[in-house]
């Protein structure tokens, strides 16, 4: 511990109690070993880890997880939010639907939805809710939930043509929300003339999303970068990575300012380590 340079911790965004728990430990260590603290934005952590792992130069970033859904592009020392969800995050939408149809949480609800979706045969009609550069997901969640109360909904598929199975709903939900995300990502790419897409966040490990994004990117002579599961999902090393980048530019968080905040916008960070 005496040899380390600094202690990086998540300043936000996120849930208050877990954030505060980490901050307390970070502060204690900082005082014990006399090391500076570096507060890090969670979203910037995802972005910097994605850039480091994939080597993408200047991608449009789609950050999709249980808590966040944003399309981000870098410009003049700021990760600017081009588009985002107007209500709930896409991972939240998927996870809550998994609960509605009683899917297991092991290994994760999102993974199980992805597997069930592969067995879906029917695309049911769901609202397609892009709003300019943004998306709205809570209405889609209500709509797909309403199908489970439809008289055509059956747990087990049969040869009957007019049945809707949970697999069909998983498939339809994914296709709809992922198409929306691909659209708003494409808008950002067109806006800034970028040919690279980087997908970060837990939902980024969904292979169907990666595939759909890849089709769009290829049509634009571009490519998609995605990290493997270890780095898509929240992890500590991404905080260390982003923290180190800002520490090297002379950034530190004084003890009195080492509070946490549940709302910390990605574009509030001064990205001093990039031109």
């Amino acid at each position: 511990m005496h040899e380390i340079d600094c202690i990086c911790f998540t300043k936000g965004p996120g849930m208050g109690a877990p954030l505060q728990s980490v901050a307390l430990i970070a502060r204690t260590l900082s005082l014990l070993f006399n090391k500076p603290l570096v507060g890090v934005n969670h979203c910037v952590g995802h972005i910097e880890m994605g850039r480091e792992i994939t080597g993408a130069q200047n991608p449009v970033v789609l950050y999709v997880s249980g808590g966040n859904t944003q399309v981000i592009a870098y410009s003049r020392q700021c990760y600017r939010i081009f588009g985002e969800t107007l209500d709930i995050a896409v991972g939240n939408c998927l996870d809550r639907f998994a609960r509605i149809i009683n899917l297991s949480n092991d290994p994760s609800p999102g993974y199980n939805i992805e597997q069930e979706a592969k067995k879906g045969k029917r695309l049911v009609s769901l609202p397609y809710a892009t709003k300019g550069m943004d998306v709205s997901l809570s209405g889609i969640l209500s709509a797909v939930e309403a199908y489970t109360l439809d008289k055509r909904f059956h747990e087990e598929g049969a040869e009957d043509k007019d049945l809707i199975t949970p697999q069909d709903l998983c498939f339809s939900l994914q296709e709809t929300v992922f198409a929306m995300l691909v659209e708003i990502t494409e808008r950002a790419m067109a806006h800034i003339g970028s040919k690279e897409v980087l997908i970060v966040g837990g939902v980024g490990s969904n292979e169907r999303l990666q595939q759909m994004m890849g089709i769009m990117a290829h049509e634009r002579q571009g490519q998609v970068f995605a990290t493997d599961e270890r780095f898509c999902i929240d992890n500590g090393i991404m905080i260390a990575q982003a923290g180190l980048l800002s520490y090297r530019m002379g950034y530190e968080t004084p003890l009195a300012k080492s509070t946490c905040t549940q709302r910390f916008r990605t574009d509030e960070v001064h990205v001093a380590w990039r031109n």
């Binding site: 511990m1 430990i25 204690t28 005082l31 070993f33 003890l255 009195a256 509070t259 946490c260």
Partner: protein, 92 residues
Amino acid sequence: MSEDWHSVTLKIPFASEKHALIAKQTIEVDPELQPHAVKRIITVEENVLIAAFSTLTIRLARLVANAFLENVDLVVRTLEQFGEEAENPPSS
């Protein structure tokens, strides 16, 4: 302070004054979530951490005392895990 406020004082001894001060400086950074209903004063006397709370309701007294103790617990466990290493810097 008006007469009908409730008060709770917690005194926690630490292994040393240094550790008690670390706990004070660590915990006092986060403000109380309801500053109009909870007044908090954290001090250190020798190796003892003292937290004096005044709260508007008895429920709040219970909540702030519990939260404070949970925070102290986290700091203590960190000090326990790393305290010895901190006392022994490598001689280079």
